[in-house]
Symmetry: C2
């Protein structure tokens, strides 16, 4: 990366922007905080950041009016076309929900409808400050196309199932095709191919071994579900005599880079394996509560130094996709769980959705904090919103608290991904909102009607 | 109430409005739902409601563009000036929070600062669709003045403590003065005086007996806290050999109309008493989680037919005041608590913040549902918001789900209280937003600086 700084000059493929009057939470290792700061970006990178008096502004100067400026949020578990299934089946037991509602509807999905569902997800992410996310689903080419159009950074894992997906019988081949198409083009497309063995119970040992081969040869992140329910644990135990974690470990899965969603029903030995194999956990509190899957053992994971980031899961089981809203719920239920109001501070919570998310995706050298040389994935929150007032900028913990406990996604005013301004003062610069809403509505009606659910 | 209907005519003190193209959730006893409906209001009351083809429009006709129209939300527990203390002390144990932060700060409150803090609360309520709320705090005249200015409907209970409040040593006298000033003027002021013995541990038996006298002679609702923490239960047991519920009952408190916040640590006998004495419970899930007070035994209360409504509690312990956001958390933790995804449907949840709230305040003959003859306390939610898309109006449960599981207060577009339009397409018609934000910020800085917290 060759960073050239020129004064007041557009050049090459991009532009220099200086954002002044920022209240900057860097979320870096030293928790640098600049109550009155400036960030300079050039093309896709941050080239300067600090207190206003220390930074020379250059290029286009944008006054941020004291907005809180922080790294974009990172959502480490979702299923992108999921808004298509939003609110069609709530308050049901897991098996009724899957057998009678979700699976019959999913069967009617097409690539085009998945494209619009994913566009809807990207729109919701953008409007609530999520700049990077990890997806696991099928129709991955349609998903990737929508993500690329949105301008967000997407870690797209084609789901792999032994019995095929609604898209294809051969999910392994579909995954390889997808990976071949996108691998190596991450810098241009912002699409980072991964591989998504769905879960220990939906993938045979042969399929899981094939996944290991693919992940290893392409150097991919494996994105899977582990121990989401007690039923899963029982099923795997009956089949193998092992816990899901130990079973996956026995097949070599955990020797790869693994992002594991849910991770609720883990025993001590499972957690030791997570620690040793550096498995990255995606905590999905709202989905877990709604499907009564259980509450993730956060304290035990933290005591072992296991990395925990946050995921919304899909809209079919959340139903919102607002990560910062889920963060509050996720933190509060853990406080109650351990009967300790001091457990997880607002600052630690914020790290979960920024730098920890980046670490989960092996991207902490590029994103997750605002630092010189890192990618410009930046969001701003408007302090003039009613629900964050009053706000005391002289006390940094007050800002952490405002974001985690008072705010929601609607407080996010500006979003920059890879140096591109995608939302400015809630105005979308790239995405066609009305078209997306309309097409998603239309697509949802098609698949729900075909399934007899509408 | 003499309802006269005239066509296209302003008359008397008010105006006739016809709201057309409404998607109406009435929340009435028969769950009437009008996918394409009209509501006619005259002055402060609904005079006609139903399917569009059945209603003759008259007066000012306002096209609601298919927005979801429902009763205003009712928040049954808060402490109105509380945004002044927002985010100043989080992630602390209860005793550290109270002794080191909240109480030292509260000491510096003045009537004027309480006025602005309450105005901030009213602004947040209005912007998130809360049209009626129950407050318990001191500086009640300042609170009431702010509420009256806002146009919201406020059940204001002056807090009573044995050792006095930061406002006055004689909280009983202050309460009586307040009640005398406002009692009988509810129709004009929308201020409904109540009385608020703070809690069994902060009121002596003599004080509680005085409260019974006052409540009985003025026919007031008693708004109190019961069994919020195990420490409270232990303290009262050591003092009296009784549970807080049994202790309050022994003093005659529960023979009055009682709205009890929290109600977490109740035993079977307590709940039997609640049932027999028709105690109304305000469930405050987010505050309870944040202070690790515990989780209210919803199922046991429901099985006994005890009325449960919802409260945000104050911003010092929530920190948001967005009732509909709390509703989701409150429902989901109960599902997990009872390991039953079917426990509390979205429809039942919505009743908690509408008609059950009205019942808790003895106002279900006037508010809590949209019915001919009832007060016009009406809100609308914009279906064109990204986070509620897609939405299938042919399935009413889909609307319930969208409101409870996908929406938050920012989806509320219009608010009408007592027939007055207070917010139209997110534009405030009465409240001076910037002035309130500024004055609340200023007031918070004064009291926190005096307490050495800023």
């Amino acid at each position: 990366m060759n960073i050239r700084i020129k004064d007041d000059t557009e050049h090459g493929n991009g532009t220099i922007y200086s954002f002044i009057n920022c209240t900057i939470l860097t979320m870096d290792n030293e928790d640098h905080y600049y109550p009155s700061g400036t960030i300079v970006i050039e093309n896709d990178r941050i080239v300067d950041i600090g207190s206003s008096q220390d930074i020379v502004t250059r290029g286009h100067v944008i006054d941020m009016g004291n907005k809180i400026v922080l790294p974009g949020f990172i959502n480490t578990h979702t299923h992108s076309p999921s808004p298509l299934f939003r609110g069609m089946a709530d308050d049901l037991s897991l098996m009724d929900w899957l057998n009678k509602k979700l699976w019959p509807a999913e069967k009617n999905l097409t690539g085009e409808i998945a494209y619009w569902g994913t566009s809807q997800t990207c729109l919701e992410f953008l409007e609530s400050g999520i700049t990077t996310f990890a997806d696991q689903y099928f129709y991955s080419e349609s998903v990737a196309k929508a993500v690329e159009t949105s301008g967000l950074r997407g870690f797209i894992a084609p789901s792999v199932f032994t019995n095929g997906s609604p898209e294809t019988k051969d999910t392994i081949q579909a995954a390889v095709d997808f990976i071949e198409k996108y691998k190596g083009k991450e810098e241009n497309t912002l699409i980072y191919p991964c591989i998504g063995p769905h879960a220990p119970y939906s993938c045979s040992s042969d399929v899981l071994k094939a996944v290991v081969e693919i992940a290893s040869s392409y150097d991919l992140l494996i994105h899977t579900h582990i121990s989401e329910t007690m039923d899963e644990n029982r099923e795997i135990y009956e089949l193998t005599g092992l816990t899901p974690t130990q079973y996956l470990d026995s097949l070599g899965i955990l020797d790869q880079k693994v992002l594991a969603a849910h991770c609720i029903h883990l025993n001590q030995k499972d957690m030791e394996i997570f620690k040793e194999k550096k498995v990255r956990v995606s905590y999905n509190p709202v989905s877990n509560l709604k499907l009564v899957s259980g509450i993730m053992p956060f304290k035990e994971l933290r005591e072992k130094g296991i990395l925990v980031s946050l995921g919304t899961d899909g809209a079919q089981s959340n139903n919102s996709l607002d990560l910062i809203k889920d963060l509050k719920t996720g933190v509060l239920i853990q406080k109650q769980q351990y009967n300790d109001a001091t457990f997880i501070s607002a600052k630690e919570a914020l790290k979960m959705v920024t730098i920890n998310g980046a670490k989960a995706l092996d991207m902490d050298h590029e994103i997750g904090s605002l630092e010189k040389g890192k990618k410009a994935d930046i969001i701003a929150m408007d302090m003039n919103k009613t629900n964050m007032n009053p706000l005391h900028r002289s006390v940094v913990s007050n800002l952490h608290s405002a974001i985690v406990y008072s705010a929601d996604g609607s407080n996010v005013s500006d979003v920059i991904v890879n140096g591109k301004i995608l939302m400015k003062d809630r105005q979308l610069m790239s995405m066609k909102r009305q078209e997306i809403l309309k097409q998603t509505q239309k697509g949802a009606e098609v698949i729900l009607k075909k399934a007899g659910l509408l």
